[in-house]
C-alpha cells in the first residue's frame, strides 16, 4: 500500500540502503523505528485515501499494525498486498501462520536477497520484537499454525525416556534429510537440508509445524506437540550440547567421507614423513 505512493517507494529504497548487513545493529534499529514511524504516516495516508479501505476492515491489534508496517516495507514486493502473493515472485502467506513467519524471518531466510534454489539462513534483518509483530500481522490476516507458549523441550530429570523417544522419532522422520548427526544434507538440484547445529528450539518447532521451503509439514496430528518436544530435546541435548565421546574432533559428523579424508591427510601424511626421516641419510 505504501509502496504505491511516491513516499513509500522512497522509504523502501531508504530502508534497503539502511538495512545493509554491514551496519551496526543499534543504528539499524533506530533506522527501522524511523521507517516504521514514517510508514505509519504512509499508512495513515492510505487509510484516508478512498478505495483502499474497502477490502480489509477487520481491526488489527497494535502489534499487528506494527507488523503490517514492517510487512509493507520489506515483504510486500514479493508477497503482495495483504500477503496475497505475487505470481512468479512470492507465494501467498494466507494460512501460513505466525510460526512460519517467525521461522523464516527469525532465521534471516526472509527477506530473500535474490531468487535462488533455496533461501539461506543469514543474519536476521529484524529483531525479535519485530519478528513477533510481523508474525502477529500474518496470523491476524490469514490464520495458520502458531508456536505454543512455554518450554519446547522436555525436562529429562522428570521424563528421562523423552530423550530415547525423541531419538527414535528423529531417526524415523528427520535423519533422511538432516543426517544422523544433524549435519544436514544435499537435496536435488542445489537444494539442501540445513544443519541443525545452530537451530533454536523455536526454530525447530516452527520448521516441523510449517514445513518451510521443501521440508514436509509435520502437523500436530502426525507428530503431536509432545513428540515434537521430545524430538527437540534429542536435537538440543544429544546432538547440539553433548560433546562427542569418541575424540576431541568429531570430523563434522559427516560420516565416512571425512574419515577417509582424515586417514590420508593425517595418517598417511604423518607416516610418509616418518618414512622419509627413517630412510634419510643421517
Amino acid at each position: 500500500m505504501t509502496s504505491d505512493t511516491p513516499a513509500g517507494r522512497r522509504l523502501r529504497v531508504f530502508n534497503r540502503r539502511r538495512s545493509a548487513p554491514s551496519r551496526a545493529r543499534r543504528r539499524f534499529g533506530a533506522a527501522v523505528r524511523m521507517v516504521a514511524a514514517l510508514a505509519l504516516a504512509g499508512g495513515v495516508y492510505t487509510a484516508f485515501a478512498p478505495g483502499a479501505l474497502a477490502e480489509d476492515n477487520r481491526p488489527l491489534s497494535a502489534a499487528a499494525q506494527e507488523g503490517k508496517a514492517l510487512f509493507d516495507n520489506s515483504c510486500i514486493s514479493c508477497h503482495g498486498r495483504n500477503a496475497e502473493g505475487v505470481e512468479g515472485r512470492g507465494p501467498t502467506l494466507i494460512g501460513v501462520g505466525s510460526a512460519s513467519v517467525e521461522f523464516q524471518v527469525g532465521t534471516g531466510r526472509m527477506p530473500m536477497t535474490r531468487q535462488e534454489a533455496q533461501a539461506e539462513r543469514k543474519t536476521p534483518q529484524f529483531n525479535q520484537d519485530q519478528v513477533k509483530q510481523l508474525g502477529q500481522y500474518v496470523q491476524e490476516i490469514g490464520g495458520g499454525p502458531q508456536l505454543p507458549s512455554g518450554s519446547l523441550t522436555e525436562d529429562l530429570k522428570q521424563n528421562p525416556e523423552a530423550l530415547a523417544r525423541g531419538g527414535e522419532l528423529f531417526r524415523i522422520n528427520c535423519t533422511s534429510c538432516h543426517s544422523f548427526g544433524g549435519a544436514g544434507g544435499a537435496l536435488s538440484s542445489g537444494k539442501y537440508a540445513p544443519s541443525l547445529h545452530g537451530a533454536t528450539e523455536q526454530e525447530i518447532y516452527a520448521a516441523m509445524l510449517t514445513g518451510p521451503q521443501n521440508m514436509p509439514v509435520f502437523g500436530d496430528n502426525e507428530i503431536t506437540p509432545e513428540q515434537k518436544r521430545e524430538i527437540i530435546t534429542y536435537v538440543t541435548q544429544q546432538l547440539q550440547q553433548d560433546k562427542d565421546p569418541g575424540g576431541l574432533f568429531n570430523l563434522g559428523r559427516y560420516g565416512p567421507v571425512t574419515e577417509g579424508l582424515a586417514i590420508f591427510l593425517v595418517g598417511i601424511t604423518l607416516l610418509v614423513f616418518a618414512a622419509l626421516w627413517i630412510a634419510g641419510k643421517s
Binding site: E168, S188, G211, P216, V217, Q238, S282
Partner: protein, 370 residues
C-alpha cells in the same frame, strides 16, 4: 665402536681361520656375512671416537624419549583407572576419556618409536653392504633330475598303463569330491521364490497383502502400530507407514515401508491425471493422498527425502530422484524403474487401508522380475 673401512674387495680370498684367537667378534661377523655373499663395504661409527660429546648428547636424547614413553604410559594407566569413563549426557569429563587414552598411548608409542629409530639412525654405525642376488637358476642337471623324478613317480603308479584303475579312481573320487561341496552348497542354497507367507513368492509379496490379515484390507500404520487417518497428515506432509499386521513395522517386512504423502490440491490433480492414465496405477490414489513404496528400485535404500514443493523424492544412497506427481518415475540418477504405488482407500472406521497389495514388484531390480 669399531671404526672399519673395508678396502679389501674380491671374493677370491682365503677363508678366515675362525679358530684364530686374535680374531675380533666383528671379523667373525664379517666372515659370516662373506659366506652369505655379503660384502660389508662400510661400517663406520658416526662419531669421531669413543665417548664423544656428540654421542653422549644423542644417548641422553634417546634416554629422555624412553623415559617420556614410560611417563606417558603411566599417564595412560592412571587415566585408564581413575578418569571418569562412563557415558554421561552433556559436556562432561567422561567425554575426554577416549582422547586421553589415545593421546597418552599414542605419544608413548611414538616416543618409543622415535627412541628406537634414533638409536638405529644416530648411534649405530653407518653401514653399506652389498649382497649378491642368486638369480642363477638351478643347474640343467638339477632340473633334469627333478623332472625325471616326477615322471618316474607317474610311471611307477602306471596310471597310463592301467585304464581300469584310472577310470575307477575317477568314478570313485568325483562323487566324493561333490560330497565335500554338497553340505556347503546344499546347506546354504535357498530358493528365493519359496512361499513363506501368503501364496506368492516373497519376492512379489509385501505385508500389505490382505492374505496376511485374514483377507481383510491391511491398515496403514505408524511404527507403533497405530492406524493413520487422512487428517493426520497435513497438506505438504508425508509419513512413513507400515502394514498393520503383527511385526509389520519390523525388519521382517523389510520390503513393506511405504511413504504416504498428502499432496497440495494442484499437485494432486496432476498426480491423479498421471495415475489414471496409467494401467497399473489406476485408482490407486485416495483424495489427495498417494502412497509409494519407500524402497528404492535401484539398490533398496529407503528413498525418503521428500521435497514438498518440487514433489521430488530423493534416495540418499545413490541420488536417484523420483517425480511423485508422475507416478514416481525416475527423473535423475541411476534408478531405471519407477517406485511402485500402493492402492489406498479408507475403511469404515476412517483409517487408511491398502486396497490391495502392491501391483508391481518392490525393491531393487532383479533378473526374473516380470
Amino acid at each position: 665402536m669399531t671404526v672399519t673401512k673395508d678396502d679389501q674387495h674380491g671374493s677370491g680370498r682365503k677363508p678366515v681361520d675362525l679358530s684364530d684367537p686374535r680374531l675380533s667378534r666383528f671379523e667373525i661377523v664379517k666372515e659370516g656375512a662373506r659366506r652369505d655373499d655379503i660384502e660389508i663395504v662400510t661400517y663406520e661409527s658416526q662419531f669421531a671416537g669413543p665417548n664423544t660429546k656428540a654421542e653422549k648428547r644423542v644417548e641422553r636424547a634417546i634416554a629422555l624419549l624412553f623415559l617420556l614413553a614410560g611417563l606417558l604410559g603411566l599417564v595412560f594407566l592412571v587415566a585408564y583407572i581413575w578418569w571418569p569413563w562412563e557415558f554421561e549426557l552433556g559436556h562432561t569429563n567422561s567425554d575426554y576419556y577416549t582422547p586421553i587414552l589415545g593421546i597418552s598411548l599414542g605419544l608413548a608409542l611414538l616416543a618409543v618409536g622415535f627412541g628406537i629409530l634414533s638409536w638405529a639412525k644416530k648411534l649405530l654405525p653407518h653401514e653399506v653392504s652389498i649382497q649378491d642376488r642368486h638369480e642363477a637358476m638351478s643347474t640343467d642337471e638339477d632340473r633334469q633330475i627333478t623332472g625325471q623324478t616326477a615322471l618316474f613317480m607317474v610311471d611307477e603308479l602306471g596310471v597310463q598303463r592301467r585304464p581300469l584303475l584310472r577310470g575307477a579312481v575317477l568314478l570313485g573320487l568325483a562323487p566324493l569330491g561333490l560330497v565335500a561341496a554338497a553340505p556347503l552348497v546344499g546347506g546354504l542354497i535357498k530358493s528365493p521364490h519359496k512361499p513363506d507367507r501368503g501364496e506368492k513368492s516373497p519376492m512379489f509379496n509385501t505385508g500389505f497383502n490382505a492374505d496376511l490379515n485374514e483377507g481383510k484390507p491391511v491398515r496403514l500404520t505408524r511404527e507403533d502400530g497405530t492406524g493413520v487417518r487422512p487428517e493426520d497428515v497435513s497438506v505438504g506432509g508425508q509419513i512413513t507407514v507400515f502394514p498393520g499386521i503383527p511385526g509389520g513395522a519390523t525388519n521382517e517386512f523389510a520390503d513393506s515401508p511405504t511413504l504416504l504423502i498428502h499432496l497440495r490440491a494442484g499437485d494432486a490433480e496432476v498426480a491423479r491425471k498421471a495415475a489414471e492414465s496409467d494401467e497399473r496405477n489406476k485408482g490407486a490414489m485416495w483424495g489427495n493422498y498417494v502412497a509409494f513404496s519407500k524402497i528404492c528400485t535401484h539398490a533398496g535404500c529407503p528413498a525418503s527425502l521428500y521435497e514438498q514443493q518440487t514433489n521430488r523424492l530423493l534416495c540418499p544412497c545413490h541420488q536417484s530422484q523420483f517425480l511423485i506427481t508422475e507416478n514416481a518415475r525416475p527423473i535423475f540418477g541411476p534408478a531405471s524403474r519407477r517406485l511402485p504405488m500402493l492402492p489406498i482407500t479408507v475403511d469404515a472406521e476412517g483409517f487408511l487401508v491398502a486396497a490391495s497389495d502392491y501391483r508391481e514388484t518392490i525393491g531393487p531390480d532383479f533378473w526374473e522380475r516380470p
